[in-house]
Subunit: 209 residues, 2 copies
């Protein structure tokens, strides 16, 4: 499998392919041409073929793609079968919303615990996930494997918390704090949800239609 | 101002420029070269010059960009000075999180009202915004200008609610439902927050580092 120098744009299209293929599976579609897949996704067929060629050989000339096979393969490339372990720090409204409504398991993540400073929530469970007090965090990290920490904490403490977690060995962050987090440790991967960028993109589109 | 055929990628970089320039303003930086701006944002200087040239003439050869001026100009292009009106439908955990913590005003949006089916929240205010019962929605839309509806409702009702709102004249959606909403009305602009795509991108990066 060729995996060097794959552009950010290609990587960011992979989850879209995965999502579309999940839906096609649910609709009972058995095979699909790159042309039809492109039409469903508003991408050209040649873009799809070029994207997928970064990861190996998929589909057959004149037959197209086997939907279920391609779904499994792209899921594998994305790591959904790796059973990544995840904890959430900050169980305010957003943390609650993720715990109660987001399908972590579909993305291959097991949500093992959540942490908060408020005694009003610690000791409880949300959707089966135990909410632990912050002073148990370091001990937890020493005794458990944690691939990703979801940060749903106030902006003011975001970078200091991230620094502390990197010191404790955390190497993956899903960042909802709207702060551009940085780390000097090259293995650290940070994925940001920038609500404001999304709303401003919408603002542009309604201002310029 | 040239505004035809601007690619999605360029449009999606505009909020990033705006965010970076906001930060530079806060740091008191008066002017910046495309080279330095590119270094801060991990974009090439020529990409920046090319992106901005889609919207007009900015900066001076040998001087660079006036940070505050460029911030104002990009804000203007994004429509942050249009005072868009917005309502939220669905005041569960995610709706609450947005009402309490998201800076709509920074993006030029005024949050005028929110709607929910639950009598437990209707009649209250969250961060000053009145939470109204769903049966007042249609009347509200008839008597108020609404540029964007934020959908933080369950997946099962997402498309039917969107269809209803389009029938009522709504033309902008900020969609948190994880359902790929569609509309046959060309003026309708839908911006999706795909949490799963973001987490899968992170999954890929930690699986392939």
């Amino acid at each position: 499998m060729k995996k060097e120098n794959i552009s950010d744009a290609v990587i960011r299209r992979l989850p879209r392919y995965y999502r579309q293929l999940t839906e096609l599976c649910a609709r009972g579609v058995v095979r699909i041409s790159s042309h039809s897949l492109g039409q469903e996704m508003n991408i050209t067929a040649s873009q799809i073929r070029q994207d997928l060629s970064c990861f190996g050989e998929f589909g057959q000339q004149g037959y197209g793609y086997n939907v279920e096979e391609l779904h499994t393969e792209i899921g594998h490339i994305l790591g959904v079968d790796n059973n990544h372990h995840l904890i959430i720090i900050g169980v305010g409204n957003l943390g609650h919303a993720l715990l109660q409504n987001f399908g972590f398991a579909h993305a291959g993540f097991s949500v093992d615990a959540a942490f908060d400073i408020s005694p009003a929530v610690t000791g409880t469970r949300v959707n089966g996930v135990p909410i632990l007090p912050m002073d148990e965090l370091d001990g937890y990290l020493k005794s458990h494997s944690v691939d990703v920490v979801v940060l749903t904490i106030p902006q003011a403490v975001a970078q200091s918390m991230a620094d502390h977690l990197v010191d404790q060995g955390v190497r993956g962050f899903w960042n909802f704090t709207n702060v551009e987090l940085t780390s000097s440790v090259p293995e650290v991967k940070i994925e940001n949800i920038h609500f404001a960028d999304s709303l401003l993109t919408l603002s542009y589109r309604i201002a310029n239609r």
